[in-house]
Symmetry: C2
DNA sequence: CGACTTATATACCATCCGTTATGGAAATCG
DNA sequence: CGATTTCCATAACGGATGGTATATAAGTCG
């Protein structure tokens, strides 16, 4: 929970805001998630958020700043399962929690289809290049965390010593990205479930 | 090799065209491949193709028709490894050829990064919805071909009888899509190679 | 050589894009 | 009560978008 725009103690002078910033940001996230950065027009955003353009600019800066805040929210609310997954006791547990967490998210009917990160990291127009870079940087960080976890798992004996932890991290990332693509293309939960079960069956160990 | 616009025997009346349709289409493909359907503006396209807008419209119809023809070309030239892959004698051979073929394509420095199909199938603006549907339909057909091949492999004993061929098809598709996403995000060939080797090591049987 | 057909080049169209200036409305402060 | 500050609503901005009308150039056909 955030305290609007000003630090904290502002006993609001001036006219009070007529909308909830958090709710508006959540609506914006849904639009970006459905249409991507470039596909989401300001008209789409303002309509979904229930505010006018000047209000949006006053509260969030501009479209890019709004997207970044929406991305923060996405990471915070929708990607928290990743942190929990990395805390699993074994590498296999990490993989399982990661895939099942992604599966749950992608097949939740209240969420737009697909993954905001994947949607935003595929190539698009020139104006969105900085957006793309920001998203790629974030997912690189996520992948590094996974890699570190697998390196630890290797030392702990979850994997044979000749295991390519980097390859496994890339593999798990790829399965999740592929799941996102298929979810974005309209795959059913049953199909995604099958993908997860198969991947889990192929995962080394146990 | 196509015969321009008219059936075949046209002893071209009127002013002759000053550019090569096939070369222009190849240039257009590169632009769509780099920037996606919506990210590619008519100005981008005409500049890369070396022709003016009226010439483009006269030769290809409109942006959507141009994209579909570029997609045909992409499938014909860049995705032919898929047909060859499905002809491999074993299911493992199919998987290997599919992944290595994708790897070669994604890491060819002359090609734009990523996969045109994946780029075009992730959500974007409303105007591109029909494009998205067309691409999704094509990749669904590709997946079905792979599924049929694996069903056959199951009957031929490549897999144990309790194998989930559908799950394996979804899995292989997902790895390739994930590879495309990572390639689009700028992964090196070495990274993608590692992903392929790992996936191949996990693939069932020998 | 004309007549005809087709391609090119320039300029333009309506529409939408993200963004912002302007004027009034709603609250607190003195 | 002003005075002040902040927010909302309308409407407009310059620029870019996909798509075209018009006029001219470059060929073949009779």
């Amino acid at each position: 929970m955030e305290i609007e725009t000003v630090p904290a103690s502002a006993p609001h002078k001036g006219r009070p805001r007529e909308f909830c910033v958090d709710a508006a940001l959540a609506s914006a996230l849904r639009v970006f998630w459905s249409k991507g950065y470039e596909g989401a027009s300001m008209a789409d955003l303002t309509e979904a958020m229930g505010i006018t353009k000047p209000s949006l600019y006053a509260a969030f800066g501009n479209k890019e700043a709004l997207f970044n805040k929406a991305l923060d929210l996405y990471e915070r609310e929708k990607l928290d399962y990743m942190h929990a997954a990395l805390d699993a006791p074994t590498a296999r547990g990490v993989a399982e929690r990661l895939m099942r967490g992604a599966l749950d998210m992608y097949s939740c009917p209240e969420n737009p289809n697909g993954c905001l990160g994947v949607i935003s990291s595929v190539a698009c127009g020139a104006e969105a290049e900085c957006i793309r870079e920001a998203v790629v940087a974030r997912s690189a960080a996520a992948k590094r965390a996974m890699l570190d976890r697998f390196a630890r798992a290797k030392k702990e004996g979850d994997f044979p010593p000749d295991t390519d932890a980097e390859g496994l991290a890339a593999f798990l990332t790829a399965v999740n990205q592929g799941m996102a693509v298929q979810a974005g293309a309209g795959a059913t939960r049953a199909e995604l479930e099958r993908l997860v079960e198969t991947s889990l069956k192929l995962w080394p160990g146990r």
